[in-house]
Amino acid sequence: MAVEPAIEVTQIALTLKEQLPILQIVVPFVAAPLIVFFGSRSLTWPITFAASAISLWISVALLLQVADGGFISYQIGGWAPPLGIEYRVDAANAYLLVLISAISTVILPYARKSVASEVARRHHTLFYACYLLCFTGLMGVVITGDAFNIFVFVEISSLSTYALIAAGAGRDKRALTAAYDYLIMGTIGATFFVIGIGFLYMATGTLNLADIAERIAEHGGNRTIHAAFAFIIVGMGLKAAIYPMHLWLPAAYTYAPSAVSAFLAATATKAAIYVILRFVFSVFQPDFAFQSLALEFILMPLAVLAMFAASFIAVFQSDLKRMLAYSSVAQIGYMVLGITLLTQTGVTATIVHLFNHGITKAALFMGAGALALRAGSSFYDRIQGMGRTMPLTSAAIVIAGLSLIGVPGTAGFISKFVLVEAALDKGWWLVALLVVFSSLLAVVYVWRVFETLYLNAPAAGTIRQEAPLSMLIPLWIMALATIYFGFDTQLTLGAARTAAEGLLAGTTGMLK
């Protein structure tokens, strides 16, 4: 890339189309304070939904522009990088933008009833404002091409996430300590990340990811850069809940309001994984010896451990939401495993699993929330027999559950197939076998839910009524999506391949 001198501002975006990257962030970001200023409860939800829907539209438009493997570079305020902040959209992050905004747009109609039942009315405006901020943060993390800007967005999303989790306190006061724990660990993680960025800045004198990549490529690694790598991986690892840095996750997902759990499980850890992908493959280089050793000998065993340990714990849970949370930790293990393979198929597996697991977990958490709405909580002995009283909700949970196992015909199968293929291609036999063996544990914990739902009599004192339509429709959209993406893989696998290609082209991919 020709780094243009800052004085010669030639690329001032003028048309709406050229402004899309910044609108992507500005729309939800501005909507959040608007909600609070209006303060009207009747306007809150429509504004939130509109902002999310517009974001979705923008992200689809962006994805279409970069689907062929190109990229869009947007310079904020016309300040060219490396001094200015650059937003850079390529296939990898456009794909993530679509995922996050689509999930948000589907979850919001669901959230309306769910939040109304779980969060006190007087908190609703602030709740949705936080939701939009969290959404903005996640989108920002993904879209920006500036290292420090990533940190800022990470903190925007994290701070609002802490508040969102604490909003579950109306149902269970442990939401507060869960939020507090997450705040402590999340801040440590973000600070580690920013230390890593500091080291990179020290070594390269720039914060623009593409520039950093270029300079590392020119000058090679040194100890400062190694330290930066370690700090960034650990910092983002905390946010992504890579085993054993997942300790905040189960409590947070269990006690947060159901809609929040669904949104976070589907998007938050995914954004962090994306940052790791971006740094591992674009900024540092895949052939960076130190890095591949660290990945193979530290992260890979951790990923495998996550797959087994977290799944094993999930088997013994008695609360559906907590079980899903532990299963998330295990599934993140699969994503990390794909990264550590350091091959194109491996990265494809990670990216496609980001998407597929996102929709699967969103559906499951939404289902859990719908059950909790009628049963009062999502403990197995409360939701048992709900297969008869809430047949539609339960059927959607079954579909999403099968996707979690990775049964063919569902989205989960696609990612598992690619992951095992990647491991076999690389000749990592044992790893391939471990992946399939660990998914046997998924069979056990998912099947426990099925048995609970269908093979027991409904518990006393539960409301025997199907969930409201406004919750059922989003739930079924997600459930049907898991089936659809189990067959039509053009969109998911195709985009993941393009994205992986771009990422693996490493520095050159960033520079074009």
Partner: protein
Amino acid sequence: MEITTAIILSMLVPFGATFTNLIFHDRENLRDGLTLGAAIVTFGLVLTILAKNGSATSETLTLFEVFPGVDIAFNVEPLGLLFAVVASGLWILTHIYAIGYMRGNKEKHHARFFACFSFAIASVMGIAFSANMLTLFLFYEFLTISTYPLVAHKGTPEAIRGARTYMSVLMGTSIALLLVAVIWTYSLTGTLDFAKGGILEGRVAGVMVPLLLGFYAFGIGKAALMPFHRWLPAAMVAPTPVSALLHAVAVVKAGVFTMMKVGIYVFGIDFLAETRASEWLMWLAAFSIIAASLVAMTKDNLKARLAYSTVSQLSYITLGVALATSLGVLGGGLHIAMHAMGKITLFMCAGSIYVATHKTNISQMTGLGRVMPITFGAFMIGALSIIGLPPMGGSWSKWLLIMGAADTGQWIMIVVLMVSSLLNIAYLLPVVARGFFLSDPENGGPVREAPLLCWLPPALTAAGTVALFFYAGTIQQFLMPLVAAN
């Protein structure tokens, strides 16, 4: 009608029946009538395909490209068509029988039962017509999932335990082994299509060939190869129509059918013969045949005895593939049809006895033959077919298998097949003998058959085993393309 349309419809019609069952769940006659209609239409569709296509291999119908070079795709070839004809034809009879059984026995949750049943049949059609290993695997798993509620149907702790065993063995083997085998194959060849002569030749060599075959053979848990046979006896807690159609015909045959597909179209018989990769499988199948027969002799519960008999008979088909010779393949293919007809007769008889007398153990059935002559007569004919005596259909497939063994010089296998026949006699005929020739005051009285809908279907299938004896040549001719090129 185009063949491709017929293929799609043959899956959609039973799939649609799933929904009509759920929608009209409280209108018994309409619901059961619609399902019967679906069964007849499905059989008609399969016959249409048979008439149009004969034993050729049809064009491939591609629906989705899932992975590069691997699609969800369907086509017609002789083995699959045979399987489809058997399964859809017997579905009609079983459905009639199931109506009688479920109503006569006052079972609950009819709608759920028939919905899952129809879904299972749709999956079987998918398996039969799949054009590559991925499609087959897809429907293979659908079949496991759709039959799980049927096994757990009674909802008793025993049923739930049985269903758990069923699920964990079938799902476990398919995910942990079959999936690995499939992806391994894909990783080696870049395709999963079923191609004449196999796709693996030249792509894999040495000890990897038997290893890959091992992943397939054990991964196909539905073939009930020992030591992964436990699910089949466990599944016997299901209502008898399920045991009859699914666990004597559809599910287990889907297993051995997959085994044959893998042998013929993924490895290729010549490749197996060349590398001698299937020799260990042959010995294991032989062990399964004998061991399961011996276990069957110890079982007093009639359905359990039949289940072990099925385990043993399934290994005949696996043996047919493992012999890696044309005659063995033909024998195996033929045995799919022959054993299906015979075993469904036996199971339906067991169900009739249960409906009429609520007896499950063989020791309680003394003298019942005089009370239920048609049921016991049908049982005897079915048993003779399983044993392999003329003029029942089972004799031909066993004959071909023995020829196949002789062809490859595996004399021990001939002995195994012979001994197995003797064991069959030892565990099946006593049931008949006890029913007809001994008497028990408790089981006396005038002729008192089960309801018409319960005794008629087994009588028809018993007649079918005799008919198959005379049409075996036609079926063998029909299967010839499987081995013609070799």
